[in-house]
């Protein structure tokens, strides 16, 4: 069984979600839970670090779609960082780059949040 792991770190006012392994229909609910926790804790600035993510399916992408409006309505955002090429290709294929900001490194994403403050 493919494994998936999700955890959250706080850096200043921004939450960084680290995702690891395979994010598909089976594991999407884990990510959803993580977002639910952030929303109920009023943490709306989110960077998702994909450094250790091996695979993402549409169901995984759907979780980001489901929460991005909530974050933006509350002066936050979901930004993506550290994507491997093949993972980025999937985002690109489905047209995500028009709607989300992608960064090579999570620090770049954090810096962008700082600028917006």
């Amino acid at each position: 069984m493919a494994d998936f792991n999700v955890s959250t770190r706080e850096v200043g006012s921004v939450s960084i979600i680290d995702v690891k392994g395979y994010l598909d229909a089976h594991t999407a609910p884990d990510l959803e839970n993580e977002f639910n926790k952030l929303v109920s804790g009023k943490q709306f600035k989110v960077v998702v670090n994909f450094d250790n993510l091996k695979y993402i399916s549409s169901a995984g992408l759907g979780v980001f779609m489901a929460y991005v409006e909530t974050m933006r309505e509350n002066n936050g955002d979901i930004k993506f960082s550290n994507l491997k090429d093949d993972v980025y290709n999937i985002f690109d294929l489905l047209g995500f780059p028009v709607l989300y900001e992608f960064y090579k490194d999570e620090n770049d994403a954090l810096a962008k949040f700082k600028l917006q403050d």
């Binding site: 229909a25 549409s58 992408l61 979780v63 999937i90 709607l99």
Partner: protein
Amino acid sequence: MHANNNNAALRNLAALVDFSNLINSNLDPNFISNNLIFTCLSKFHTSRAALAFSDGQNVLRISSYKGITDQTAKNFPEVLIGDCQSSNVLKNYLEENKFSFGKLIETPRKKIGVLFLGKKLTGRDYDEDDKSFLNTLLHIASSAMENSLMVTELKEVNRNLDAKVNQLSSLFDLSKEFSGILEKERVGKLLLYSIIGQLIVTKFAVVICEDEGFEILETRIPPEILKTALSGCSVKNFTEPKTKKNIEQKFISISKIGIELVIPMQIKGATKGLILLGGRTNNQPYNQSDIEYVSSLGSLAIISIENGRLFKETLEKQRLEKDLEIAQKIQSNLLPDKAPYMKNFDIAAINQSARQVGGDYYDLVKLDEDRLLFAVADVSGKGVQAALLMANLQAFLQSICKQNIELDQASNLINDLVSENTTDGSFITFFWGIISDKTKELIYVNMGHNPPLFIRDKKIIKLKEGGMILGVMPTIIPYKSEKIKLNTGDKIILFTDGITEAMNTQGVEYSDERLEELVINLSASSAEETLNIILNDVKVFSKGAPQSDDITSMIIKVG
């Protein structure tokens, strides 16, 4: 002069070789276009140039330009490449924007596009040398352009293929996942995530059809607004996907809340649910491939939801059966284990339920040292409802027995009690009596029950005295009791219609007559023997036919 000409030719040649090397080393159409334009600008001393390629429909589309504003480029008229020499609209556009002429770029196989050049800044016209140089230039450029355009096209095809592969893998992913999930809420969530992730949409809802209405499974539209919008729609109208145009025309209430795509979720052609999607965040319309994707996902999801429902139903049924088993145990505990001892009476009784729980009932209650109360009842209806009423009846009977009142009085009372406790037209046929060891007397009241057979000296008397069926209405006419002085050898046969109405495979009933003929000759048999003979006869008669009603019988023989 001669040397000058040579020099110029050499320069031209060098520029051409340079240009050829450069553009053939690169497959990026922008790179090639830009180089072509820059080369022309410098060679012909003009400040403006534009390059238009023919698109899939042979319409010219500006792709690169220098020296004109973006707006000017945007204003480029829609002209077929075949009409580029004759179109007046194009001619006007060129004049207006100070272009000198357009030159077709073609390969031996097809026309690729047109290069437009502005007037020379020197004020001179393009001469023959210029034109022949341009021809050579475009000749070199054309094959490089065709290659690069082909590569671009291939890339596009590849990308579309990738997208299709991605959709398929996502479908595969979900089909695996759905088969293991039974909660419809979770199915709904995964369904949505897979759709909104794939198609980039944030406004959505999933509803399940229930009778004529809809149950909302997932929604990003306020539920009340969604319900109102859907209230005017019938499931029957959604047998196929509805696109934006169709929704705007026929489902205005849904269109008003921003829904642009409605996909039915179907099982065997019947619509069981709907997926409603708003516009895509990237403003792209939904194409056929998207609709197929959502439809496939919808089918997977609805089957999973249906399976979950069936599974739940089965569980519920199993639980109910378990409950019935318990009820049966409770009920059989309500019946007396064995007849209490009476010095002058030999008593046997039996109850066989056609179902797990039945509506027949008999009881034997010792009132004091001397007297025994016996009762047989058949509650209308079957199953749990009948069993519950029967349990009620027993409770009333037990408590009335402790009151020490006359049997006719007790009958009035028990009828009032049962009437008050039945609301749905249920009733009970009931017979009860008291026998006394000391006086060897029988007193009984029949409340609408099949008259028990009283047998004395091979003659049958039917015990009919009493009154109305139990439980139909409160007692208005008091019940009457009958007292009979008993002799040794007298026998009382009590039974329910499960015996006399038992059917054989031909649909013929066992009948009262057959019972009477059978028992009239059993004066030598004990109560137990008589009971067994009756049961056996019924069994032989109805052989092969299923028992349709509860069978209850009680035999009292006077010693």
